[in-house]
Amino acid sequence: MTKIEKPANFSRRALLKAGGALVVSIGAPVTFDFAQADDAMSTQTMGAAATSVAIKPALTPDQLSSYIAVNADGTIAAYFGKMDMGHGIAVAIAQMVAEELDAPFSSVKMFMGDTATSVNQGGASGSTGIEDGGKQMRLAAAEARRVLVEMAADKLGVPSDQLTVRDAVVYAKAEPAKKVAYAELVGGRYFNVLLAWNGKIGNPLLAPGKAKPKDPKDYRVVGQPIKREDVAPRVFAQLDFVTDVKVPGMVHGRMIRPPVAGAVPVKIDETSINDIPGAKVVSNQGFLGVVADKEWDAIKAMRQLKVEWSDVKPPFPEKTSAIYDYIRNSPVRKKEVGGKTVGDVEVAFKSAARAIEAEYEWPFQSHASMGPACAVVDVKDDQVTIWTGSQKPHYTRDGVAAILGVAPEKVHAMWIPGPGSYGRNDAGDAAMDAALLSKAVGKPVRLQYMRDQATGWDPKGPASIHRARAAIDASGKVIAYEFMSKGLPRVDVNSNESQPHDTLAGQLTGVALKSGDGFAVPQESYGFDNKYTYWETVPPLLDRGSPLRTSHLRDPVGPQIHFASESFMDEVAAELKLDPIAFRLQYVRDPRDIAVIKAAAEKANWQSRPSPRKDQSGNKVSGRGFAYVQRGPTRVAIVAEVDIDRTTGKIWARKFTVAHDCGQIINPDGLRLAIEGNVVQGVSRTLWEEVKFNAKAVTSVDWMTYPILDITEMPETIEAVLIDHPEIAPSGAGEPSTRPVAAAIANAVFDATGVRIRRVPFSPDNVKSALS
């Protein structure tokens, strides 16, 4: 049995039995079904005093049984409404649960992202797996321990404060022979304990019990470098991805997207695919797909179908780089001041001895997941089943229910690992598209996108410009700082697919749009006397069915904002002829920020001097750069060391030293690997990534036209300094270390060359032209 449990097969009833059987296998009904959840509620009401029941209470956030169950064999099921997308948080959550329960780590089995077994804790979202999801699981496990100890007190006739727990066995402290195992107390039954739910679902869901979690000084499991158990099944091809799901009667689907963004089919010649066995067309307004019995036949039908598209005005600028003028010149759709406004910036600038100002640009970027998204959806009259790689299966359930017009209770969504994620990628759209295909053909449909659709049609990280200025007085002190982001909104489509208007399927079938909005400001603790930071958004280029619609991409809007803000801090330091770290330390106020900055500098053996270097000549030069950020409660400081070939424009981001403070560390090895991945992906986005387009369409459609970092370009070293604060609640680590990478590289390039590059990506061509 692996740590991460999954349905034994893909029938819903079998799944429920498999999941349910874990806890009802002895002395309990075996006919457990979801419909009985309502009965369980009445059982609970009638027998309110019982702390355990045979039938599982309703799967609601206020029930302890929605998070934790003790099985008859002593194993512990942890039902998690978030998922492990590859950073190993399944291990971390199991560690937190085992710790609070004083149960062996190996006894905890994780069930993740299944709407039949977990409540909506928000799915994978904003680095909150441990920060929010783990917090709730910790509270639930602590409450479960408290209840179990109370039950043991009754059973053993020993007051609970004279009991202790070791390896899931409750002992009398004074008389260790008096003992009872968790499994004997509740195994095979469900907790029937209400929690103090805050009434929220998703990330903010919180439902504590009466128990207080452990004092960190007593930790034995939390903080240990325990390995993932899902790696071996992956390398031995024993783990099914969502792309591998097969259900009886399943057919294969493919979608067809327009050659000009915004065009819709006006004539479809269905006879053009007559020679392909079982091939059918499914169309509804702008929605156009095909299905066939065999996957290759579906692909052939997709390619072969003759379609005449409406004649629409090409919606985009002719050149990719024109996006920045579009942003500059567009009317502001929404403006918001963020961060803490201090003093009066305008007044301060009037009194300044000098001012420094700069503008930065960041392109659209794609999730470009390793494989195109896939979903399998089976729409039946009385039941809809979804297998999805989406980060947010509970919201996928809601979205599919909405687009099909059925009650969410009739829809069961299961998260199955997908081909990469990093935010609101194409997975959510795939589930919605597959639902419409399945409904149309009356069979389960497996839909996978093609590569050009994955890169060309996923929701994009937004393009933006950023303007910063600083006022300096005669003594060289920064007396005012202003920072502005202006860009496409961070979410044209929401970060989950719970509403049809947030999906291609919805937009293409005429659901009225309701675009989200917003951007953000830098997160740091620079204590300037006058400070003003704000953002503005501009209207989208095409208001529906756009391949350039925006949504969350790893660390949404973080890399672009902090590329600008931390590049600018370096520009000010250089202007003042100060060492970039010494300059920052003059103004950074937060003690944890100061600590990460110093930790990175010390580990990287940072020598204090201003940038740029003056001691290099020739075509091959090297430099070092620094950047620091907050992301929520997490802080990261990073030193980049780069080599540049001035003749080719090629940058090698050779070494990174990362100091990372996310409060209490649950699993140091998992954290280290997450940081490595974030840094490498950050390097890729800085050096290579830009979604290109022409007036008609996105032209970044594969790995040649949307290059990412190659292994021959990988850093030589990524050294992480992990600052552990057991006394501070753990905060996110899935994204923060992506945030400062671009600025650190930009600052290192300046250090090496004396040239400031203010537009990403730093591809060889772009760097060469910047240096010439």
Binding site: T243, S369, M370, G418, W703, I711, T712
Partner: protein
């Protein structure tokens, strides 16, 4: 026009009916029901579909099924098992390499052929042998550590 083909995959011969231009990938996944290799791009640009054909790594997404003939096809599942892991599989577990893991077939199958023919490779030799393979999660540091570990295990 569908034709019959016999495919020798992981030591077993399977008969399938397929269009001659259908890539091997779809025979392996759709006809044989294997959950490896994976569709990543269909353009031989990423490696997620890599299998061995007579010991050489090929991108099954662009290899017509009609071109395989009697050749022996080995997929990741045929490379080793939990009881008898290939050193690269053991090293991948030890180094905890993957995040999403969808790219694994490309790296392991390519590296397996490389390490079989090249003993004690340098870091640069490893990187250049693996050039062009994609990993979107950015696990390159772990990949290199695992290949080096496997190289040591393989002498």
């Amino acid at each position: 026009m569908k034709q019959s083909y016999s495919l020798n995959v992981n030591g077993t011969v399977h008969k399938i009916e397929a269009d001659e231009d259908m890539p091997l990938l779809y025979a392996l996944r759709d006809d044989l029901g294997l959950n490896n290799p994976h569709f990543g791009c269909g353009l031989a640009q990423c490696g997620a579909c890599t299998v061995h054909v007579d010991g050489q790594p090929v991108r099954s997404c662009i290899t017509p099924v009609s071109s395989v003939g009697d050749s022996k096809v080995v997929t990741l599942a045929g490379l080793g098992s939990p009881d008898k892991p290939h050193p690269l599989q053991a090293a991948y577990v030890e180094e905890q390499v993957p995040q999403c893991g969808y790219c694994i077939n490309g790296w392991i199958m390519t590296a397996a052929a490389f390490l079989r023919d090249k003993k004690k490779p340098t870091d640069d030799e490893i990187k250049s042998a693996l050039q062009g393979l994609k990993c979107r999660c950015g696990t390159h540091m772990g990949i290199l550590r695992a290949v080096k570990r496997a190289a040591t295990m393989m002498g």
